[in-house]
């Protein structure tokens, strides 16, 4: 019964991993393609559900590992650290705040200035989502060429190293640009918005200049959305319904100076972020696919397949197939051993078996249980 539950749980996790990869792609693709906010909200909610699911899964695995005194093994060789990075931080810093903003504050307000830089670093947490590609290695075993434990472990190791290096390099790059003031994605857009906000603040002293400036900006710059003075909207680019339908959490930037409040459109930055995320997504996807398509067969042909054939030959009395030795790999260590197996072991085995009075037995006691009475 326990095994059935475990198998069901594993199948559920594998299915969730495959689904979350699709969700990851769609969430960014929806932003880039300008899908309706309703769809984007649903994708954000599904993202939150997946993060919650994987966080619970991680905590469950951690609990059982702890109970079995295998915490260190799970977090290191068991690749629990991947489970952690692909769940808990995402729930805490990405999907959690997004859902909170969606349901409790209507918009997630991203400030301008120092806070913006911190949030930008936090947003890079999303990059960790691509670590989930490493988790699909769990289902590699079902795929041709990766049906040996050794092949699975080696491919998982090289894929983990490659993807982790890419992800943590991106983390590092985001941290440097975020915390040191170096320009990052959307920096020029936000600087431009700050310039406009400062210009409007200056023009506010003269009401005529202020109104003229707003109307000029309306023609020349399409990022200024709303201007409020003493809490009353004196300018809005769109009607209220449009904002509800096309703007979501993080799509606004907000600037306040005494009585003056300004809202800017930050969707171009979101699109740039999503384009970047999609690029990372495909880089990782192709990296994993390359390991699977090119490296796995290579590993199988040169390492695990010949070892498997030799292992069967050593173990099974009537298995006498030779190891196929590709000419170009004949000097490899494995194939040098295989050559000895082919040229020395198998002929000796053949002669030894021929000397045995009794031949090889295909039938055992377990095969005749139905014939013999209890």
């Amino acid at each position: 019964m326990n095994k059935k539950i475990t198998n069901f749980f594993e199948m559920l996790v594998v299915t969730a991993i495959l689904l979350v990869l699709i969700q990851m792609f769609l969430e960014d693709f929806a932003v880039v393609s300008g899908w309706s906010m309703d769809i984007q909200k649903k994708l954000s909610i599904s993202g939150f559900c997946f993060d919650l699911f994987f966080t619970i899964e991680f905590l469950t695995r951690l609990f059982y590992a702890f109970a079995n005194k295998k915490t260190y093994y799970y977090l290191t060789r068991g690749r629990g650290w991947i489970d952690f990075f692909a769940s808990v931080p995402l729930l805490m810093f990405n999907s959690g705040p997004t859902i909170f903003a969606l349901f409790f504050s209507g918009t997630a307000i991203l400030g301008i200035g120092g806070i913006f830089n911190v949030l930008k670093v936090i947003k890079t947490i999303r990059i960790a989502r691509v670590l989930r590609f490493l988790r699909i290695i769990k289902i590699f075993g079902k795929i041709r060429y990766v049906d040996s434990v050794t092949a699975q472990r080696h491919i998982a190791t090289v894929a983990t190293i490659s993807i982790t290096v890419i992800v943590f390099s991106l983390f590092g790059a985001s941290f440097i640009t975020g915390s040191t003031g170096l320009p990052g994605i959307g920096e020029s857009i936000f600087n431009h918005q700050i310039t406009i906000a400062e210009a409007l603040t200056k023009a506010e002293t003269n009401e005529k200049d202020f109104i003229n400036t707003i109307y000029q900006l309306n023609r020349l710059d399409d990022t200024l959305l709303i201007v409020k003075k003493k809490g009353t909207a004196i300018y809005s680019r769109y009607k209220n319904g449009y904002y509800r339908e096309h703007f979501g959490p993080g799509d606004y930037t907000y600037y306040k100076n005494q009585d003056l409040e300004m809202f800017f459109d930050s969707r171009p930055v979101s699109i740039q972020n999503s384009v970047r995320n999609l690029i990372f997504f495909f880089i990782i996807l192709f990296t994993v696919a390359a390991f699977l398509i090119f490296y796995s067969p290579q590993f199988a042909i040169t390492i695990t397949d010949p070892l498997h054939v030799m292992e069967r030959g050593f173990r099974e009395k009537d298995y006498n197939l030779e190891v196929k030795i590709p000419e170009k790999y004949a000097d490899d260590d494995v194939f040098r051993v295989a050559k000895l197996y082919n040229e020395h072991y198998l002929p000796l085995k053949d002669r030894a078996e021929n000397n045995e009075e009794k031949g090889l037995l295909n039938i055992g006691m377990q095969d005749i249980k139905d014939i013999l009475p209890d």
Binding site: Y145, A300, I301, T304, D305, P306, H308, V309, R312, D318, N320, L321, E322, V323, K324, N342, E343, L346, P347, D350, R351, N354, N355, K358, G359, L361, N362, I363, G364, M365, D367, I368, D370, I371, L372, P373
Partner: protein, 308 residues
């Protein structure tokens, strides 16, 4: 007694129907069951000595009863199967190309069938026949002989120029199939297990083969002498008898191939094909089995190039 025989028959019939033996030939099944009975005697005895089978009998008695039941059961199917092979599978027209003396095909067929019935009463002949018979049933030689005739290399030269066979490829194929059937005929004269005349590798002492030929050629009047000689010589080692016929060398190799032939062997990725593997191993053991190494080289190349 009759009841015990009935019980032995039922037990053997159920053993023979076991799925683990499904793909094996009749003689391979027989060998497996005998081996099984010997290997598991200790475990089987308490059950087989119980009231359900042979109450109070010793193992030797039980084994003997089961052995007789097995041979009887196998023979029920084996002899008709052999008759079909002789009547339908092999075209004996090749005998007209062997000797100038006219041989009646009907007589040859009948004589071979009757002789095999007599021969296969002997345990060692049955054992020796397993590989050769598998090679006949599975027609292991046909694709190789076709290739030999396409390539016209060493084996073809040996067949046509050394053995001087003046017959086509189909006749050669049938010649070899018949040689395979008659290969164990040497055991008609062996005493006991035949260990005095036969080496572990299956190679038979040359003088004994000559003696067998003398005796059998007097008994089997319808069978062409050259065919009988070639069949008996397939039990000799080529290493010690460089003059043995090409067909005998081929027969010897394919009888051995049939011995380890597995009909539905799963070739793992990274493994060579069954025939290629077998011929390569045989190339390394050619002295032990008394094979013609040059012939093995050619068969190996054929297997390798065709992925067999």
């Amino acid at each position: 007694m009759a009841l015990e025989n009935e019980k032995a028959n039922v037990f053997i019939q159920r053993l023979m129907a076991n799925s683990a033996l499904k793909n094996l030939s009749l003689l391979q099944r027989e060998e497996q069951i005998l081996h099984f009975l010997k290997a598991n005697a200790k475990q089987l005895y308490p059950t087989l000595a119980s009231s359900s089978f042979f109450p109070g009998k010793g193992w030797n008695y039980i084994y003997s009863s089961l052995y007789n039941a097995l041979i009887k059961e196998i023979n029920i199917y084996l002899f008709p199967e052999l008759k079909t092979v002789i009547e339908s599978r092999i075209d004996f027209a090749f005998i007209h190309f062997i000797e100038e003396r006219k041989h009646e095909v009907r007589q040859v067929k009948n004589e071979i069938a009757e002789f095999l019935k007599r021969l296969l009463q002997k345990t060692e002949a049955r054992q020796s026949f397993i590989g050769a018979y598998t090679a006949v049933l599975k027609n292991l030689t046909e694709p190789y002989i076709d290739e030999v005739f396409e390539r016209k290399k060493y084996i073809h030269f040996e067949l046509t120029k050394v053995q001087k066979l003046t017959m086509g490829r189909e006749e050669v194929k049938n010649f070899i199939l018949t040689s395979l059937l008659l290969k164990p005929s040497v055991h008609l004269l062996t005493a006991g297990s035949g260990k005095d005349e036969t080496l572990a590798s299956g190679v038979v002492n040359g003088q004994f083969v000559d003696k067998a030929y003398m005796v059998l050629s007097n008994q089997l009047k319808s069978i062409p002498k050259k065919l009988l000689k070639a069949s008996l010589d397939s039990n000799l080692s080529f290493i010690e008898n460089k003059q043995i016929e090409t067909t005998s060398r081929i027969t010897s190799i394919f009888a051995a191939r049939g011995r380890s032939y597995k009909p539905s062997v799963k070739v793992d990725r990274g493994a060579d094909s069954p025939d290629k593997s077998w011929f390569n191993i045989a190339r390394r053991n050619y002295k032990y089995y008394g094979f013609d190494s040059t012939m093995l080289d050619e068969f190996y190349k054929i297997a390798a190039e065709n992925g067999w």
